[in-house]
Amino acid sequence: MFGRSTLLAFAILVIPSLRGKPFVPGEIIRGDFKQIGELFLENHCFDCHDDETKEADLNLLDLGPVDEINAAVWKSVWAQVAMGEMPPPNKSQPKITERLKFSDWVVQELREEMKEKGGFKANLDPKKANYLEHDLLFGELPNDIKLKPTSSSSRIWRITPQEHITRLNELINMEPAFNPSKPGVRTRGDFVPTNHGGELKLYFGTDRIIRWEGGTVAYQTAVKSVPVVLSSSRKHGFENYADFYSVNSSEATQILNKAEDILKYMAYGPMSLVEFPEQITDNPKTYDAVKPKEDLRGLPSAIVYNTKVVRPITPVYDLMRQDKFTEDSIRKTITFLFEVLTFRPPSEKEVSEYLQIVNESIKKIGREQGAFMGLSSIFLDRDALFRPELAKEGKADKYGRVMLQDWELGLAVNHALSYIRPDEKLRDAIVQGKMRTRSDVRREVSRMLDDDSIRKPRVLRFFRDFFDYDLSGYICKDQKALASTGTSARDNAYFRAMFDATASTDRLIELILADDKNVLKELLTTQKVVHTGNDRSLFGRRYTKEEQKNAQEEKKRAEELATLEIAEERKILTKEVNKLEGQAKANKSDKALKKMVASKQKELKALIKKMADMKRKAGNNVNTNVEEANFSGKQIFARVSRRSFGTGSMKPERTLSTVPESQRLGILTHPSWLVSHSDAMDNHAIHRGIWVRERLLGGGIPDVPITVDAQLPDEPGTTLRERMRVTREKYCWSCHEKMDPLGLPFEMYNHAGIYRTTEFEKPVDAKGEIIDSGDPSLDGPVANALEMIDKLANSERVEQVFVRHAFRFWMGRNETLHDRPVLQAAHEAYRESGGSMKVLILSLVTSDAFLFRKQNIQN
């Protein structure tokens, strides 16, 4: 395509002309492929990737300008250069500005070229946020880089599935007010938790159910519930950046259908759910008198509701009680519904538009059905599904930035912490024009942060997204592999234990947040544990083979001891029965004797059963697989779903205890996190390593090359570490050295999260190493996860990376170099406050990145 000598000459001519101007990251880079792309490749890539050397089977000589065909290769080039992986350390390195400029140019070209072909947004993905070198944000900045005052794009931000369900739940269910004596119990303003199976659903009328027929499954089928319909493709990491999602037509259709169900429940309560009015009674016997005489299990008619009205009574209820609708009452209902769904009052024009829809529906299909249908349209209002941050009202500063104000600012502040409507104080501030300045925001956010009765599900969501400890119930476990871990829970009981574990970890995090001191360090090193009664085994220690044998003998002894007396009794009775049976055989006509034999046989049978029960009970107290954690502590509560599975529903009761000494350190060593980073058969050291690399060290991991068959060999009876030898091959290791040595220290736990000292009868090897972390004081070998976590928890860099993640979550986007001052200020605030999460959040949400919007910023 071109001669290399020509290129070099061109490079020499062009480079000086690019020098001298300060580089402003993110600004349009003027220059075509020859001037920018080819030049960089020639200077830094062709030595190894030309038609002769083709290192890693890659020849960049013929790459050419970015187009649809070579976009994938350009994307890899961008990733390698942006992360600083290429050129390799033993080659001459480009200047930082040159590297940044080239990366920005590739992104710019890919974005332009792919505009009509699926777009290019990889650089905006949270997984790629660490491609921006950490030291550029927290270390020295080269003089030739010029930063601009930061802001975020004006945008609309779709609400999350969890927010949507919580918002709808407000319409039909009254959650209890915050009770300071029972913190942790689900309260108004908390998110709607997933149910016993991990599904996010909206439940109707469950707070009034006083009886149902059948068991747990029958209950689940009979109650009315609707699943969430907004989609979320999250697997690991941040769920919801502002540019992630829209609402598609199937979701819109389902929202409409659901809206009518909700409106009917708002109007009529459980009467909208029942087959017979008699199902609503405080005395179920009155229903028994009229109910159908058949198997009602799983049917709506199997449920009896009490008569106590506990749902919110709203203008929808008032409207539907009227014999004749007045325009005023419809307007009032529209105004109410609009605000509860969009969190802001409607304009007069908006009320009129919806009034027209309602009136037209009533005209066409009648009063009742028409009202429900017409009002359901408000559920699809743009602002009921998206939160606008358009900053159209304010005046631009000299940098072209406009500060959010009034409702947009108030709702942005509200959304930073809450899923439900602004409370009265915030609403008043917005209405009175007191949401226009940074100090207004500081005042309201401080107030909200300090008030425990204002629930802050967004803060907890951040920690779920950051740690990814809430995935354990969704990891499908092979039953045999699960049994080998030593846990006794199987099938659905196991998965339910995992959802319980998620709720427990939620609560532990909230307790640490309540102390608000060195929050990250505490999370990483706490000795506290929130648990259910069943968690003693999951937090226990797997016995060695020898110990298992001893435990089995102990079990046998316990069984024998418990049945010692009864065994003797059984022996005597057996002898007696045998004797009587012999007599009866000889005297077949003796009816009295026959009767006595039958009676004694029955007695013996009962005794045998009793003995078996006693044996089982005594045996059950001895766990032959795991040394259970010796927990003791005070009772607390965790947040669980409304009753979703009859008597099998999740329970809120928990205990706050201390983990067994020298076995656990912080939530990375709790089963909820460990299982979330495991697979069906074993631990997932690679995922765990990626997590540590990305979330704590701030390192980037490139995408898996498509040529890689990412499989470990299937070798039963060998350790994961042994099977992972394949990743040590040269081609794999350049990436895997970033993850494997950080994940393998967690081999001190098996894939159910149980601590172990041996594996396949040999001492567990939990060694690992922190390699090329960016902070030389961290680098070096570690004996196990505890040592590694201890090192990381004391690192300033790790703290800064945590702040970067908090920034991403609260801004809904990746950080850019222009956010450097915001990040530094947030980190300083966190440090100076002794690791206060409240202070960190306050710093972030009063920053320019949060407050200012600008059109057409390329993030």
């Binding site: 037509s249 799983g298 709506p300 037209e360 299909i365 349209s377 209002d381 069906a680 059109q855």
Partner: protein
């Protein structure tokens, strides 16, 4: 994020199913799949398990032809269609955790349970994407007790378009009729249809106005939202435009719709609507959930007084109750086949290009570990599948392999369906389609 027409139509099919496209009639605009690929697929899942004894002819232990054997009483209605029938025994679904139903896992081939959200797309949805394009690529109907169908006219238990993305099934035939034939109906249905159309048009107009104010980079995402309304309204327009064609297929609304005596009246009408959507070319994929994927359900219209959970605790073979239910299913299958045979397509009939997969969402019984998952195929996709026979497999291949086989016949490459290699090592003795069932 880029959205094309095809994506939009696909998404539409997930909801109440408002969608439109250029292709309406079955004879036009077929996608380019191999010659033997089906043009439409029907999944029929009876709940509470499919006991092999209710479909495998007595004494038949090994694979072989069905030509000289008599079908058992529960499926004897299929006797005239034996040459289209393939009974498969010995697939497994152990990894789906099927006791008390794996819900989405039955068609997804992954772990499921009550309350567990879908872990990925299900096979019916995946097929709807690759089959010749229609207005409403995927229609799901669910049959249950009359109470449940009234109280919960849409539920999502069986089909999904992706992880955490359930697809709802219709259980109220009046609502489904309104969706499919509102434009050509009269009376209340017509009024309902018009009111909803008018409301959607106004929402579209309002949403579109709000979109004008958005920054350029946000417009594309928002446009997808607005386009959803355009498409919902567009479907109504398109259906109205072809109302002459649709009239030929629309079932007559009678008392069974408005005043059903038994739940089976609604089951029958739902089936009629499903058939009409296939015959009119409105859909290419029909999923029928008899019992809606759960472990309850009622069939009082067949004279079965017992209902719900206990039906799953009974042995099915030689049980008069289960003979009645399976016979009812078989009559439905016959009706589907006869109706599709009555419509010419190419050199044969619609049925020649149709594959029906009949099984249970609950493997072989309600309380099961899924070690055996019997299936009946009806139709051979132009000879791609063997037919007129019984195949006994060795229990080492999962239902995912059957789904992979159907996907392959439908022109989709790949050796697995929803199964990672790590899982396959444990649960699949081979790769790719099931050779024993292919011609």
């Amino acid at each position: 994020m880029k959205f094309n027409r095809r994506d939009t139509i696909r998404q539409l099919a997930l909801g109440a199913g408002a969608a439109f496209s250029g292709a309406l009639f079955p004879h036009s605009a077929f996608a380019s799949v191999s010659g033997s690929a089906p043009k439409r697929v029907i999944f029929f899942l009876q709940n509470q398990g499919f006991e092999p004894g209710t479909c495998i002819p007595d004494g038949m232990k090994n694979s072989g032809s069905l030509s000289k054997v008599k079908l058992p009483e529960p499926i004897e209605a299929l006797e005239p269609f034996k040459e289209r029938l393939h009974i498969i025994n010995g697939l497994h679904g152990k990894h789906t955790s099927p006791a008390h139903s794996p819900f989405f896992g039955a068609l997804g081939g992954y772990r499921g349970s009550d309350g567990v959200p879908p872990g990925g797309p299900t096979v019916d949805y995946e097929l709807s994407k690759v089959l010749p394009q229609t207005l409403l690529p995927h229609l799901c109907i669910g049959m249950d007790s009359i109470e449940n169908m009234r109280a919960k006219p849409t539920v999502a238990n069986l089909s999904a378009s992706g992880a955490g993305q359930p697809i709802f099934m219709h259980s109220n035939p009046n609502h489904l009729y309104q969706l499919l034939y509102g434009g050509i109906s009269e009376g209340d249905i017509r009024n309902q249809h018009e009111a909803r159309s008018s409301m959607l048009e106004r929402i579209e107009s309002m949403a579109s106005t709000e979109g004008h104010q958005l920054p350029l980079q946000e417009k594309q995402r928002y446009d997808q939202y607005v386009r959803g309304f355009e498409d919902m309204n567009g479907l109504r327009d398109r259906l109205a435009q072809v109302s002459g064609h649709l009239k030929k297929f629309a079932p007559k609304v009678d008392e069974r719709y408005t005043n059903p005596e038994f739940e089976t009246d609604w089951h029958d009408t739902l089936l009629d609507l499903g058939i009409s959507a296939l015959k009119s070319g409105t859909t290419n994929t029909l999923t029928i959930g008899s019992g809606r994927g759960e472990i309850f359900g009622a069939w009082k219209g067949l004279g079965i007084e017992q209902q719900g959970h206990n039906l799953g605790h009974m042995k099915q073979k030689d049980n008069p109750i289960w003979i009645k239910i399976r016979q009812y299913n078989s009559r439905m299958l016959v009706k589907l086949m006869e109706q599709l045979e009555s419509v010419p397509e190419g050199s044969g009939s619609m049925m020649d290009n149709t594959l029906i997969v009949y099984t249970s969402n609950n493997a072989d019984k309600q309380h099961t570990n899924g070690a055996n998952w019997p299936v009946m195929l009806l139709g051979n996709c132009g000879g791609a599948f063997k037919s007129g026979c019984f195949t006994q497999l060795d229990g080492t291949r999962p239902i995912n392999a059957l789904y992979n086989s159907i996907m392959r016949v439908s022109g989709v490459e790949g050796d697995r369906f929803n199964m990672t290699e790590a899982m396959a090592k444990k649960y699949d003795s081979s790769t790719g389609p099931i050779t024993q069932i292919l011609s």
